[in-house]
């Protein structure tokens, strides 16, 4: 980083809006996808382990 410090870094030579909105969109998209895919697995697992569907499941997690 240059001598200008944080404010110069944030300003990105006047292109801060374009640069940071690009990085923000990427961060939000990645975070959203991770949350969504983990929620999808949990929903699928809960459905698969419902008593009316699942066979007896030995619990090896304890």
């Amino acid at each position: 980083m240059n001598a200008g410090g944080l404010s110069e870094f944030v300003a990105m030579g006047g292109y801060g809006f374009y640069v940071w909105s690009s990085y923000a969109v990427a961060a939000v998209a990645v975070a959203f996808e991770i949350v969504a895919v983990r929620a999808r697995i949990r929903a699928a697992v809960k459905s698969a382990l419902r008593p009316d569907r699942a066979v007896s499941v030995p619990d090896d997690t304890q």
């Binding site: 374009y18 690009s22 990427a26 895919v37 699928a44 698969a48 030995p58």
Partner: protein, 247 residues
């Protein structure tokens, strides 16, 4: 005996624990590479002589655009495997890749717009590169919509695989569009056949971010394929494998 082990892995329920074990490694790899790439791209690489700091969008834009095309090629490959050998796991891997490919396509288009405004004075132009990338997004959406529209998963596998393979013709069109047509979009940033024209720190930051995106795509696709396997393998007698997810 190795052939037997290979075919065991092609069974979705056998692949499930392998996918689960691989995710942390690819996630950690993606995080480390992204941290290194962001450090290089935002703090080490100098401002561009012509574009100032606006060019730093490249560290998101180029990896996202590469992944949008690469994931489609991999998806089409698994579709071809599933059509040829009629294997469920191949179709599931294609199904798992599509949303991530669409996500990277959206990122490529949005970051391209955010770069286009300062570089060219416009967020969007109907030039060949941008239009063919937009078509790629519609191909991902079409693939996912077709899957969702067909109730029988095996029929959905076949129909969506045919669509994905037909759409694969668009990938070379995107890649070579900047050569074949006179586009507003610039030519390729990196070439295997000529010396790099970018500063070393810019180039290495971009390549490291591309590897980060690659590792991320593998990790999130391996997560999604677990969901798909559990959703589709209704008759499999799941042991304690699944309980880790709802602890």
């Amino acid at each position: 005996m190795s052939s037997i082990a290979w075919f065991r892995l092609a069974s979705p329920a056998s692949f499930f624990p392998l996918a689960r074990r691989l995710v942390p490694w690819f996630s950690a790899g993606a995080a480390v590479l992204a941290a290194a790439g962001l450090w290089l791209g935002l703090l080490v690489a100098p401002a561009d002589a012509q574009q100032g700091d606006a060019y730093r969008i490249i560290f998101i834009h180029v990896p996202a655009a590469w992944m949008s095309m690469f994931i489609y090629v991999v998806m089409a490959f698994w579709c071809a495997v599933s059509l040829t050998f009629n294997t469920r796991l191949a179709a599931m891997l294609a199904q798992a890749l599509a949303p991530t490919g669409a996500m990277f396509t959206v990122l490529a288009l949005v970051t391209g717009a955010m770069w286009g405004k300062p570089a060219w004075g416009t967020y969007w132009a109907w030039d060949a590169r941008m239009t063919s990338e937009l078509i790629l997004l519609f191909l991902y959406f079409g693939y996912m919509a077709l899957r969702n529209a067909i109730d029988d998963p095996r029929r959905a596998d076949r129909a969506s695989a045919v669509l994905a393979l037909i759409g694969a013709i668009n990938v070379p069109i995107i890649y070579f569009s900047v050569k074949w047509w006179n586009t507003l979009h610039q030519g390729a940033s990196v070439s295997l056949t000529s010396a790099p024209t970018m500063a070393a720190t810019m180039l290495s930051g971009m390549l490291i971010m591309a590897f980060a995106a690659w590792f991320y795509a593998i990790a999130v696709a391996l997560l999604r394929v677990q969901a798909i396997i559990v959703e589709r393998e209704k008759n499999f007698r799941w042991s304690g494998e699944l309980l880790r997810w709802i602890r």
